[in-house]
Every structure is written in C-alpha cells, then in structure tokens.
C-alpha cells in the first residue's frame, strides 16, 4: 500500500510541477508570442518539420533586426500528430498557456477544422495550408486565412493545363481525402467541356504497392493522369506507373512531386516529363530564394513557402496595427497582403517600411497572397513545371 501511494503521489506531483515550471521560466511577458502547429509525427510527418524550421528562421531574422514594435518575437512550435484530438489539445495549450496571438501551418484538413473553432472563439488568428473547401466556409469571422488554393481553383487550372496539352482522356488517382470527390468532379467537368472523357480511382494511401490500381487505370487508356495524393504514396505510384510501361502525361501537385520525391526515386527516367503545378510567385520576387536559404532546400515544397508567408503576414499586420493581438492581425492582415503599397517579399523590409509610415503590399513565396473575405486566396497565376533530367524546369506561367 505504501509503494503505490508513493507512486501515485509522485506521478501527480511531477505532473503539476511540469505544468507549473515552464511558465516560471517563460517570464518574458514582454515578447510577442506566435506559434506553429504542424504535423511533426503521423501521416503528415514528411511536411511538418520544414514548415516549423522556416518559421523559426524568419522569427530569428526579424528579432535580429529589432523585433516587432520594439518587442522580441517568440515562436512556439507544437506537434499536431496529424490527428485532430492531439491538434486540439496542442492548440488549447498554445492559446491558454503560451497565450499566442497566431497559430500557423495547420496541415491536415481535419486538424484545421477541429482547431478553427478554438481559434475564432479565443480571437486567435489561424493561418492554414489545408486545402479542403469546407474550411473557409466555417463561421470563422475573419480569424482564418489560407494560403493554399482551394480545390475548385487548383483542379480547374490543372484540367485547363492538361487539355491545353491536348489530353483527351484524363484520369484522376487520389486517396480518400476531403478534396478527393470534388477533384474528380471538377477534372471531369473540365475535360468534358474540352470534348474528352475522364475516369478516376480512389486508393488507400498506406499501401506499399499500387500495381493493381495502376492496372485498372491503364485499362481506361488515359493519355494524362492526375496524381492527386501526397509525397509518400505518389512515390510508389510513379514507380508503379513506370514499371507498368505507362507512356502518357502525368501531372501532380508541387507539394507532392517535390525535390524530395525526385531525389528519393533517384532514377531520372521514372520522373522524366512529369508535370507539377503550384500558384506562381510574382515576377522578380525574391521570396522563394529566401525560403530556399532559410529551409536549406534547393526546391522547397509549397507548404514550406506558405508558412514563410504566414509568419511575414502576421508580423507585418501586427506592426501596422501597433497591436500584437489576434484581433489586430485579423483586422490588418489584408492591409499588408494586398492593395496599393510598396512591394515587399519579407518581413524585415516590410517592418522597416511600416515603421517609416509607408504602405506595403506583400507578395509571398507561395503566390501573390491576396485574400478574399472568406480567407481564400484570390485567383492567381499558376506556375507549371516539368521534370527534366531530375530537375523541375518551367513550362509556363498562366
């Protein structure tokens, strides 16, 4: 009886101590607190770390240049484990314990949808990279922006590009995600409008081989395949398509067919000629170069670029508002994201200009970053690339 009493007491005490101690350590009440909530473990694990890393790099640069409103910026990074329950618990801690004004980088649509009510109810600003259309339909009162184009925008452009290349039989291979059904519908519509036919298949993204799925796809006889999954399953899919002798066109999202995928597959023939697309950055914008430097990746994927934009927008909005609260960000983010003003592509320059009383217009690494009132990005140009000899080369911007 003694032993278990000690054991239980010790457990409770250590739990309480652990919760109390760090708040004593984090007594810098004067700093501005923002947070990233990205998938560092779980299915989204391949993406989260780079997102957190680039955010930390931006904050470091800003602090070195004097911070925001004369205060240091403190970044807290939590793991949502690609799971809505873990994401909600982490968000609750960020909001109530760390008292952050903004949460950035939520990736899985289920996580974003679960975390969003916590944010708008506590007036914390949420920046997300999730693509599900339903997210911006939530009653977020302006506390949410998303830098990822929604499904309608993305897939329509994808379809238009494919038909412009002369594709007559398109085929969508997509795992079961919130945008799977819509993607299939939209690509089907666009193809039919151009006089072609469309087939589709929803697959399980945890498989280690897609031979049978590829067989079924090839039976349709497509001349263009849209691989709408994420990097892990797309790697296997591309290998199996190559093995099956598929010779038609392949297109995928730039966040799936990224440099990591190309390097991992290794053999150039497998990815030769594969198209990728993503929202285009503005002409002359140095944002992408900065992201490459900060993330250490020669070809950062769109999610990393988006989080770079999140941090910049949040910090500049605070500067304009002269207030670091979530409501201030909500009311001022569009003032720095769009409209007239000096074009800036990073927070340090932007903060300097704002301090000097100028207006700014931020164009980011993931696109022009102009938002409608639901939080979606406005229509923008897309950048279409093709992998040639292991490197993504530009085809067109449209």
């Amino acid at each position: 009886m003694n032993r278990l009493a000690i054991g239980r007491r010790a457990a409770l005490l250590s739990g309480v101590a652990a919760v109390a101690a760090p708040s004593v350590l984090r007594a810098q009440t004067d700093s501005i607190k923002i947070a990233t909530l990205t998938p560092l473990t779980g299915a989204g694990g391949p993406y989260g770390p780079a997102m957190a890393k680039v955010a930390a790099a931006v904050v470091e640069e800003v602090n070195a240049a004097g911070g925001v409103l004369g205060r240091k910026v403190q970044l807290v990074s939590e793991d949502d484990q690609t799971n809505p329950d873990a994401g909600v618990r982490a968000a609750r801690k960020l909001i109530d314990v760390d008292k952050v004004s903004a949460i950035m980088g939520t990736w899985a649509s289920a996580v974003t949808t679960a975390v969003a009510p916590l944010c708008w109810e506590s007036k914390t600003f949420l920046c997300t990279v999730s693509g599900a259309d339903s997210i911006t339909q939530l009653p977020h009162q302006g506390y949410l922006i998303r830098t990822q184009p929604n499904t309608v925008l993305q897939v329509t452009r994808c379809g238009e590009f494919l038909t412009s290349l002369g594709a007559k039989k398109t085929y969508t291979l997509v795992p079961q995600t919130p945008f799977a059904q819509r993607s299939i519908e939209i690509l089907g519509e666009v193809t039919k409008k151009a006089g072609g036919t469309h087939g589709s298949q929803i697959y399980d993204d945890k498989k280690t081989t897609y031979r049978t799925e590829v067989d079924q796809a090839m039976r349709f006889g497509p001349d263009a395949i849209f691989c709408a999954g994420y990097t892990p399953d797309t790697i296997v899919l591309l290998k199996d398509l190559y093995r099956a002798g598929y010779k038609g066109k392949i297109i995928g999202q730039a966040y799936a067919i990224n440099q990591k995928l190309i390097d991992q597959i290794g053999q150039p023939e497998v990815v030769e000629g594969v198209y990728t697309y993503a929202p285009s950055i503005a002409e002359g914008s140095g944002a992408l170069e900065r992201v490459k430097r900060m993330s250490g990746l020669a070809n950062p994927d769109p999610y990393t670029s988006q989080v770079y934009d999140h941090v910049n927008l949040v910090l500049m909005a605070m500067a304009v508002a002269k207030d670091a609260s979530g409501t201030a960000i909500k009311d001022n983010v569009r003032k720095v994201a769009q409209g007239s003003g000096k074009t800036v592509d990073n927070a340090v320059d932007g903060l300097k200009a704002i301090a000097a009383g100028e207006k700014v217009d931020y164009t980011g690494a993931s696109g022009p970053c102009d938002f409608d009132d639901k939080g979606d990005i406005l229509d923008c140009k897309f950048r279409y690339e093709q992998v040639k000899a292991g490197k993504a080369t530009l085809v067109k911007v449209a």
């Binding site: 457990a11 409770l12 760090p22 708040s23 809505p84 329950d85 909001i95 009510p117 339903s134 059904q181």
Partner: protein
C-alpha cells in the same frame, strides 16, 4: 492556464469513461476488445448526425449513442462467439478499422474525411466558449460518476463475480452453471454502449468529429491507461486514465526544457518519453497502481472467517 487545465480534465474524463468501458470487459470478463475506437466512433457519429442533420435535441443524441454503441457491440460479440480470445483481439481491431473506413468513404452518410462540424453543445451559444468549457466538465463528471458507480456495483455483485470467474476460466464457470455466453454478450454490449456514449460526449464538447479521430492509437492509449491503473478495478481505470492524460500533456512541457533540438526531434522525444514512462509503469507495477482486490465471497459456515 485554468482554461487549459479544465480542457485537459474534460478530455481526460472522456478517456476515463472509455477506460471504465474497457475495464468492464477486460478486467471483468477477460475479453480483449481492441475495437474500442470503433464503438467510440459509432456513438460519436450517431449522436452528431442525429443532432445536426436530424435536428434532434442533444439528450436524444446521447441516448441514441448509447443504443447504437450497444447494438454495434451486440453485433460484434455475436459474430465472434466462436473465436478464441487471441483471435477476438484482431477481429475487434478489424471492426474498428472498418468503422473508420466506412466513415471516411461513405460521404453521403458521414461527410467522409471532411468530418461533421458544428455539433451543438448544451447551452453553447448562451454561455460562450469560456463558460461552455467550464460548464461541460461538471456535466461530464456527473455522467462519469454515474457510470463509475454502476461499474462498481457490478464489480461487487454476484454478476461481477461471475464475470471474473469467466475471465479466470470460462470452462469452469460453465460447468458451475453460469450462462457464460449470455453474460459475455451482456457485458460486451454494455461496454460498447458506454464507449459509444463517450464518443457522443466528445463530439458535443469539441463540436467536430472526423474519421481521423478514431485511429487505433486511442485504443492503445486506453489499454495503457487501464493496465497502468490496475485491471479489474474501476477506480484503477479512472486513475489510469487521468494519469495517462497528465503524462500526455506534461511530456510536452518536459521536452520544452531540452535545448538545441529541432522541432521534429522535440516531438520525437515527447512521444519517446510517453512510451518509456508507460513501459516503466507496466514493468514496475505490473498489476497496476491500484491492483484489483478480489473481494472475499461471503461465508456462511460457523467457524469460518468473515
């Protein structure tokens, strides 16, 4: 900070309900239900659907969750009566996975991977978020207390003793005249009903459910909670669940103290810390923190101990 602690206590209480559910059939009848997440999901979806699209009152949703969970439990246990214990484990796990897949793919029914948002909470609009969170916990604790008292009642009753007899050796129990099958079916259905209720309570608290919530990981956590609290003891199940929640959240703060690691390394260290702590509890206290005390059967003989 208070908000956060209340929130964690609420989620912990829902885990505690699940732990009581598991303790009933594992500690009670010795049945391995690895499909806990599936019954959790069935209850959550039943209540969410009927209160959003169906516009039914919240209490009706909770009642339906109980019924739906129990019905699902009946189906599973009846389909698996011929299976041995080790095999029951994988079939129940399969059930949970099938539920999750159906929830993901049958979009017409469950909104698929988009999930169901806007699930109403009792007096949510009137109270506003801060007070709603604080008010939900007492409601939850009342339900938890009711279920706990029921579990304790069962535990100490002849029915509970019969279940434990079945756990120790089903053949002997059968020979002793206990209707083994009927008891097992009842226990399993009740356990599944409680898990379903827990699901509904979760959904109405967070206002959003999605298939990704119901991964086997939840089942794993509850098993770890019950094992560390002490299998067979309802109090042990409660202690285990709250201890688990404390561990899950305090690990977060512990790893913040580690310098010079990247975010992903910190996340890996957090998960590592939790898993190692659980192994340590299991190894050092194999019967759990509050081991089950088998109550003496009352003796009516003269000269016997009482």
């Amino acid at each position: 900070m208070l908000n956060y602690l209340l929130f964690i206590a609420t989620i912990g209480s829902i885990y505690a309900l699940l732990a009581l559910s598991l303790n009933l059939i594992w500690g009670g009848a010795g049945m391995v239900n690895l499909g806990l997440a599936g019954f959790f999901a069935v209850g959550a979806y039943a209540s969410a659907l009927v209160t959003t699209t169906g516009q039914a009152p919240i209490l009706a949703g909770w009642a339906l969750a109980l019924v739906a969970g129990g019905a699902a439990g009946l189906v599973v246990v009846l389909a698996t009566t011929r299976l041995r214990e080790d095999y029951l484990a994988i079939v129940t796990l399969g059930f949970a996975e099938v539920v999750r897949l159906v929830a993901s793919n049958e979009i017409w029914l469950t909104h698929g991977t988009d999930g169901i948002s806007g699930i109403p909470g009792p007096w949510r609009a009137a109270l506003g978020r801060e007070y709603f969170n604080a008010a939900y916990l007492p409601i939850l604790l009342v339900v938890l207390l009711a279920v706990f008292l029921l579990m304790r009642r069962i535990d100490r009753s002849p029915y509970g003793r019969a279940l434990r007899a079945i756990r120790e050796d089903a053949q002997v129990a059968q020979v002793a005249g206990k209707p083994v099958l009927r008891f097992k079916v009842q226990a399993f259905a009740l356990s599944a009903a409680i898990a379903g209720l827990a699901g509904a309570l979760y959904g109405h608290f967070t206002s959003y459910i999605a298939p990704d919530l119901f991964l086997p990981l939840i089942t794993v956590y509850i098993f770890l909670a019950v094992a560390s609290g002490g299998v067979g003891s309802p109090v042990g199940a409660l202690v285990g669940a709250y201890l688990l929640m404390t561990l899950l959240e305090s690990a977060r703060f512990f790893v913040e103290l580690i310098p010079a690691v990247t975010a992903v390394q910190r996340a890996a260290l957090k998960e590592l810390l939790i898993a190692v702590a659980l192994i340590l509890v299991l190894r050092l206290m194999p019967r759990g923190l509050l081991p089950e005390r088998i109550p003496r059967a009352p003796l009516n003989q003269t000269g016997g101990k009482s």
